[in-house]
């Protein structure tokens, strides 16, 4: 969130042809719709411009000649044109907005798909909130450009051209006279644009500063209160707020000058028209109706110009949004496929770590020369203090990250040569912090795999002792599960994640045992479920429970990123080394508590 407010400060230029070219590529699939929209737009604008012509004909040919039925006919024609123009412009608007929606859909999909490919380090560095903004809000900004920006800018230009042609057609001298005020208008608009852009930028940076300040101090409110700093903080807030206000006030100034200036210029051109037009009428080179049509055309003239100024803002924010989106899309996924991938249809479940070294950033090794072998069907427990490197081992095995040195092999094949999806298909992961998706129980068990039937889901839930509970809730396995499993207890969440792993039926199971304490009854349920889960699989468990460790075929003792001891529970205890001390530290209290 905080990052968002800072990002706002970077406000790029309003138009960037490189970005624009890339953006327009998204409209390519819809080019035929786009072309038809443009055709509709041109014909609609042309019809709109015919309306003043009808007024002219009405005045000159019928009103002047006192021909009431003629006037009625021209009114009907007027109505016809009006209605046709309505249909055309409705069609055009609908098509452009429709294209905007389609493009929006496409870009969203592309970003989302890209995010599914990106390496996990990327997610460590980029807060989820920021990435969500890319997929959601930033794309919405682009939609605005596609649906109301691009085509209507085009439309405004066409209307302008049409008006110019119509005026020249009526009386080129008078037309040129009208255009005489144009330079004035253009200069005024340019000055206004430049000033307002400066102010706009200032407002944005100051607003961003104010927001960042607010966000920071709201987050640190207890420090402010503890240190009696309310008054001082308020003073600084007001300084920034005053800065913002003065930028705003300056902006008002420009707007307050610009709009009246445009009105004065338009009155000036009306006055010119009237003055020279009256002479022309007297000289009979101009009819009455033509002068009226002229006046109406001039009125329409100012509309597109004001409109164009407004489109500028849309353009500016969409450039900024597209820049952010493209930056994300240009980030290459880091876990790359090996040059000669090996097909990996089946596994026996043998895992080897061979002198594996790994670090998140180069200066500090998290794992140093770790080597061990897990035979098919073996249950291995990893123990060690916090920061010993246990979780990193799991992450490597799942290829969330790639190690720098050594090799990890499954059934003798280096995992970097196995296509990631194929490898993960054989493995199940149960994390310490269970992640529950919103949806229903069934959805959380089978995730996206529709080929797991309801019976299998229920079977899995039954095996982990959770079905008894779910059956009672309304809807059974279809009962709603809230975001992050808010309505479930810690124990239930764990059991649900066990069921998930069971349903996927992996050959290799990786489990990070939860440390959180649960009541004895739930603990018993978890123990039972764990036993079912481990049966017949190769398993690596980061163990926190004594019972799990005692049952393991092998215990790996990690210490400061190194594998220091391997063996069975009693052997290791007898050795009186690291494991012995860990055991005393972690479980003596546990046993003591149990005794109390």
């Amino acid at each position: 969130m905080a990052e968002n407010y800072h990002e706002e400060e970077a406000l790029g230029k309003a138009y960037d042809s490189r970005l624009m070219k890339r953006l327009l590529k998204y409209a390519r699939p819809y080019r035929w719709s786009l072309i038809s929209a443009i055709i509709l737009l041109i014909s609609g604008s042309a019809l709109q411009l015919l309306l003043p012509v009808m007024v002219q004909i009405g005045i000159d040919n019928y009103i002047a000649d006192k021909d009431l039925s003629g006037l009625f006919h021209i009114t009907l024609v007027y109505a016809g044109i009006l209605f046709t123009a309505f249909l055309l412009s409705y069609g055009q608007m609908y098509i452009t907005m429709y294209i905007g929606q389609k493009v929006q859909y496409d870009i969203r999909m592309e970003i989302f798909r890209h995010l599914q490919k990106l390496h996990l380090q990327f997610f460590d560095k980029n807060p989820v909130g920021r990435l969500v903004t890319r997929v959601t809000n930033d794309v919405s900004v682009l939609d605005e450009m596609f649906s109301s920006g691009l085509v209507s800018v085009f439309g405004d230009l066409i209307t302008l051209v049409g008006i110019v042609i119509a005026m020249l057609y009526y009386d080129w001298q008078l037309a040129l006279l009208t255009f005489a005020v144009l330079p004035l208008l253009i200069v005024a608009t340019m000055i206004f644009r430049r000033k307002v852009r400066g102010v706009y930028r200032e407002v944005r940076t100051r607003l961003a500063r104010l927001n960042a300040f607010t966000q920071e101090h709201v987050t640190g409110i207890s420090v402010i209160q503890m240190f009696n700093r309310e008054k001082a903080t308020f003073g600084r807030y007001n300084e920034i707020n005053t800065d913002l206000r003065s930028a705003h006030l300056r902006g008002i100034y420009y707007y307050a000058i610009f709009f009246p200036v445009v009105e004065i210029i338009s009155a000036f051109s009306l006055a010119l028209l009237l003055y020279y037009g009256s002479g022309d009428i007297l000289a009979a080179t101009l009819t009455f109706g033509e002068l009226v049509a002229f006046i109406q055309l001039v009125e329409r003239f100012y509309h597109p110009i004001r409109d164009l100024a407004e489109k500028y803002n849309i353009l500016q924010s969409s450039m900024a949004a597209s820049e952010r989106i493209f930056n994300l899309l240009d980030t290459e996924p880091k876990v790359v496929k090996h040059a000669e991938p090996v097909e990996f249809p089946e596994t026996r479940g043998k895992i080897e770590f061979d002198k594996v070294c790994f670090s998140y950033n180069t200066d500090e090794w998290v794992l140093k020369d770790v080597s061990f072998t897990v035979e098919p069907g073996e249950k291995v427990a990893i123990v060690g203090a916090t920061g010993a490197g246990k979780t990193s081992m799991l992450s490597l095995l799942f290829r969330f990250y790639d190690y720098q040195k050594g090799s990890i092999r499954i059934d003798g094949t280096d995992i970097q040569r196995i296509p990631v999806e194929q490898m993960r298909r054989h493995m199940g992961l149960v994390l310490q912090d269970v992640f529950i998706f919103s949806g229903d129980y069934a959805g959380n068990v089978r995730l996206g795999r529709e080929d797991i039937p309801d019976e299998k889901v229920i079977e899995a839930l039954e095996k982990v002792n959770l079905y008894r509970f779910i059956r009672e809730s309304e809807g059974g396995i279809r009962a709603e599960v809230k975001e992050r499993g808010a309505t479930l207890s810690t124990g239930q969440k764990q059991l649900l994640s066990f069921a998930r792993a069971l349903a996927f039926n992996p050959d290799i199971l990786i489990l990070d045992e939860a440390t959180s304490s649960v009541d004895t009854a739930t603990e018993k349920m978890i123990q039972d479920a764990l036993e079912v889960l481990l049966k017949g699989r190769t398993a690596i468990i980061i163990a926190h429970r004594l019972s799990t460790i005692e049952k393991a075929d092998k215990i790996l003792v990690m210490h400061h990123g190194e594998l220091r001891e391997i063996g069975k529970h009693q052997e290791l205890l007898d050795r009186k080394g690291i494991y012995y001390r860990l055991h005393q530290m972690q479980f003596k209290q546990e046993m003591m508590k149990a005794a109390v």
Partner: protein, 585 residues
């Protein structure tokens, strides 16, 4: 509370601001009246000149009209400038005041508000909602005044010229207004559905990214994409149903506007043919109606500004109506220096419906050093944070110098305390200003002394800008241990009689921690200190050690006493000796 009352109070805050700036409002109103009146004379002049042209007048005859048009436009422009300059100007001042008052109120609110309100919501109040209120009082007022005035004046002119044609030509206007409103409402209802679904879309993405490890581990990338595609499509479908209506908006507007011209052309034309009105009047009618269309559209816009503004105002008022949960009583004890004791008398403290502390009885005498240990979530932090009254404390349960903590003036109370939290919050400011955060002076020697005690001085001097080094937001440019040490310096720089360290050296390495403890020793002797630590070694030498468990005090006593007792504290101590031993292996 009756509904009308709610409405009344809803606007009472705004009324205060408007009254404050009524000068602007009055001048703005005047400018609006004048600019509109002047501007609306122009079509009438157009009529007069056309009438003369019809009667064969040349350029020289209508020069006076031409000049009048220009002069009127300039005058109207001047007043138009004034109108924006006053009303919009005022709205920015109101925005400033409102935002400032809001922040000031936020500074007073207590932890229960902040724990139950998302930061994002608070941000939305002080940004979007304040802006919406401004739009209501600024452009809202301006456009409504403008629209109604120009309508009245234009219609007056039109009636004067031809009542009959006025009646005919105004016929389409209500239809226009109605259509704009109706379409606006349709767009609005569909739009809120879209917004709702947008939230669904957002939370889908959020969830997927937050659970990305599970997604990857179970090969769920493709199904996730399919799932997202479904939601994305649904969102687009909802949008399509809206654009069907939305795309009609401007075309219908143009058609109705055109139909006004149509009516004038036919009926006006007939009137001209019958000789009831002049051609000039017809032209003036065209001009007046062209000037009326925009205000009619603006009316619809103002309605939505009003709706949005009131909704935002309500949300802002909700914050204002939240009373601070912790505040000084009117006769609170001020200007007092702590010198005797801190005493918990059978204190039970519940928070969010959960009892966090139960039956606490503890007396800490001035000058004592007290260590607090125990498992996570056993209530250690809550125990000490009550001394700073960050939460409302029940009466008759906590006494400072024998005075109920609720009877202390907040400012006085808090100035007695130096507090270092486990995850200290630093501000994006210079190191110097961060250390001096709680101080009213800026004595460099004092800052340096405090930094030396906290064993951070040397490291600071290694930075290129030394004490002027700017920290990133939340102090992210420093390591966890450095942050904690800066926070210690910040706490002792004001020389408070009570010092509370809440696991303040948890991220500091053992050696530095030892150094800090050595240097703090002198400081602690002069003060009353409460030290929470997960390392027993840090509290071993304290005068009194408190072992907390499940919100209650399980054991108290000096180190030797507790070791002799061989209870929980002794077990913890032995475990930690082992851990230290392990660390050296």
């Amino acid at each position: 509370m009756p509904v009308s009352n709610v409405k009344e109070s809803r606007f009472s805050r705004i009324r205060v601001y408007l009254r404050r700036y009524r000068k602007y409002l009055i001048w703005g109103g005047l400018a609006t009246v004048l600019s509109n009146s002047l501007m609306l004379i122009n079509p009438f002049i157009l009529k007069l000149s056309f009438d003369e042209i019809e009667n064969g007048a040349g350029s020289s005859d209508i020069l006076k009209y031409v000049l009048a048009i220009i002069i009127l436009a300039i005058l109207a422009g001047l007043f138009r400038f004034m109108m924006r300059r006053t009303i919009i100007w005022m709205s920015r001042k109101v925005e400033f005041d409102l935002r400032s008052d809001l922040f000031n109120h936020l500074l007073k609110l207590g932890q229960n508000f902040y724990n139950n309100t998302k930061t994002g919501d608070i941000m939305a109040r002080s940004t979007n909602d304040v802006e919406a209120v401004r739009m209501m009082v600024g452009p809202g007022i301006m456009h409504i005044a403008n629209a109604s005035l120009s309508a009245i004046i234009a219609i007056a002119f039109m009636v004067y010229m031809s009542p009959k044609l006025t009646l005919y030509s105004l016929l389409p206007l209500p239809i226009l207004s109605f259509a704009v409103n109706k379409l606006g409402m349709m767009v609005h209802t569909r739009f809120s559905k879209i917004q709702e679904y947008f939230a669904v879309l957002t939370s889908r993405v959020q969830e997927n990214l937050a659970g990305i490890r599970v997604v990857r581990a179970y090969n769920q990338e493709e199904p996730s994409i399919d799932d997202f595609a479904g939601h994305n499509l649904k969102y687009i479908e909802l949008n399509k149903s809206m654009i069907k209506v939305q795309a009609m908006f401007f075309p219908i507007l143009f058609m109705l506007a055109g139909s006004i011209n149509l009516v004038v052309l036919y009926f006006g034309g007939s009137e001209v043919i019958e000789g009831n009105i002049s051609l000039g009047t017809l032209v003036a009618f065209f001009a007046y109606l062209a000037m009326l269309i925009w205000p009619m559209i603006a009316m619809g816009w103002v309605v939505s500004l009003y709706q949005r503004g009131t909704a935002s105002l309500e949300r802002i008022n909700n914050v204002f109506n939240t009373e601070p949960s912790v505040y000084s009583e009117p006769n609170a004890v001020k200007d007092r220096q702590f010198h005797d004791s801190i005493e918990y008398r059978n204190l039970t403290f519940s928070y969010n419906g959960r009892a966090n502390l139960r039956n606490i009885n503890l007396k800490i005498n001035a000058g004592q050093t007290v260590g607090v240990v125990g498992p996570t979530a056993s209530g250690k932090t809550t125990l000490v944070s009550l001394i700073g009254r960050l939460h409302p404390v029940p009466r008759n349960s906590l006494f400072i110098d024998g005075i109920d903590i609720n009877d202390w003036d907040l400012k006085t109370l808090r100035s007695q305390i130096g507090f270092v939290a486990q995850e200290p919050f630093l501000f994006s400011d210079s190191l110097n200003r961060n250390i001096l955060f709680g101080a009213d002076h800026s004595d460099e020697a004092v800052v340096k002394a405090a930094a030396q005690t906290a064993v951070i001085d040397e490291e600071i001097l290694e930075f290129p800008n030394q004490y002027e080094t700017m920290l990133g937001e939340r102090g992210i440019t420093l390591s966890g241990g450095q942050k904690q040490r800066v926070a210690i310096a910040r706490a002792i720089v004001t020389d408070p009689p009570i010092l509370i360290l809440d696991d303040a050296t948890s991220a500091v390495d053992t050696q530095t921690e030892h150094q800090i403890n050595q240097r703090l020793k002198g400081e602690l002797k002069r003060r009353t200190a409460i030290i929470i630590s997960h390392r027993v070694s840090a509290v071993k030498d304290a005068d009194l050690i408190v072992y907390m468990e499940d919100g209650a005090i399980a054991e108290t006593g000096a180190h030797e006493e507790l070791m002799e007792k061989d209870g929980r504290y002794a077990a913890l101590y032995r475990a930690q000796l082992l851990a230290e031993e392990l660390d050296r292996m």
